[in-house]
């Protein structure tokens, strides 16, 4: 069971999703009750729920309170709230404002 909601702002994943890659040019949100096993690629990524997979973002990534993320994060800016669970590798490149971040 998966619900995908697409809006002008971006894509919201709600439900259980297993796939190789979810890509959105702008904004990806993993909602609170979602369980996602996939790599995520987007300009900005916000995780409220469960994620097993890597995040690659040219912009900012937010792991909200209550989120549980296992995977590697490659991004320009990262914000982890207290109460978020995370295990993995973080690569923020040389400069926090440098957009030259991604798989090499």
């Amino acid at each position: 069971m998966i619900r995908l909601r697409s809006s002008a702002e971006g894509l919201i994943i709600d439900g259980t999703l297993e796939c190789a890659l979810v890509h959105h040019q702008r904004h990806l949100t993993v909602s609170k009750n979602a369980r996602v096993e996939a790599d995520l690629q987007a300009s900005t990524v916000v995780v409220f729920g469960h994620l097993i997979g890597d995040i690659v973002s040219e912009g900012k990534v937010l792991l909200a309170n209550g989120s549980d993320v296992r995977g590697d994060i490659s991004c320009a800016g990262l914000f982890i709230e207290e109460g978020a669970q995370f295990k993995g590798q973080i690569d923020m490149g040389v400069g926090a404002t440098d957009a030259n971040v991604g798989y090499s």
């Binding site: 900012k60 990262l78 207290e82 590798q89 490149g93 926090a96």
Partner: protein, 166 residues
């Protein structure tokens, strides 16, 4: 003159110790400050709250207390402390059984092993994070099973460096 008096009154007020979760530098009374001009090489251990504004190279064993690396602090050391707040630069691992906070302006290269982590917008971090599950929220899984499931993940994402320091 009147303004000066007000400032003195403020200075004489007791400064409350850092509460857990508060994103403030530790400024309690029982705190040692390593000043910006101080350079230390070796193993540093303390049993009181510590604020580092200087340069430290080596290891910092600082169990059960709070450690702050101030904005001017430059630390190349592995850190063992109860809770850690980083506002400056750190090259090394953080081992904490409490809260680790990387504030805006912090630059950290190393691994973080903690139970709670707060990374503020504007902080820069390169390294691995391992957070122990909080018992209040979930029952902690067996470490072996945890590592196995993550090993599969590491094999799959070969493009990201998975070199372990330990």
């Amino acid at each position: 003159m009147f303004n000066k008096k007000i400032r003195n009154d403020e200075d004489s007020k007791p400064i409350p110790p850092m509460r857990i979760g508060e994103q403030q530098p530790i400024r309690s009374k029982n705190v040692s400050v390593i000043g910006p001009t101080l350079i230390f090489r070796g193993e540093l251990s303390a049993d009181e709250d510590l604020v580092i504004e200087g340069t430290i190279e080596g290891t910092i064993a600082h169990h059960k207390k709070n450690l702050t690396i101030g904005a001017k602090g430059r630390v190349s050391a592995d850190i063992h402390a109860s809770s850690v707040l980083v506002e400056g630069q750190l090259d090394g691992d953080i081992h904490s059984d409490g809260l680790v906070s990387l504030a805006k302006g912090a630059a950290v290269n190393g691994n973080i092993y903690c139970s709670r982590l707060v990374l503020q917008d504007g902080a820069r971090f390169n390294g691995k994070v391992e957070m122990a599950k909080q018992p209040a929220l979930k029952i902690a899984p067996k470490p072996e099973a945890d590592d196995d499931s993550y090993a599969d993940k590491e094999n799959r994402s070969a493009s990201v460096s998975t070199e372990k320091r330990f």
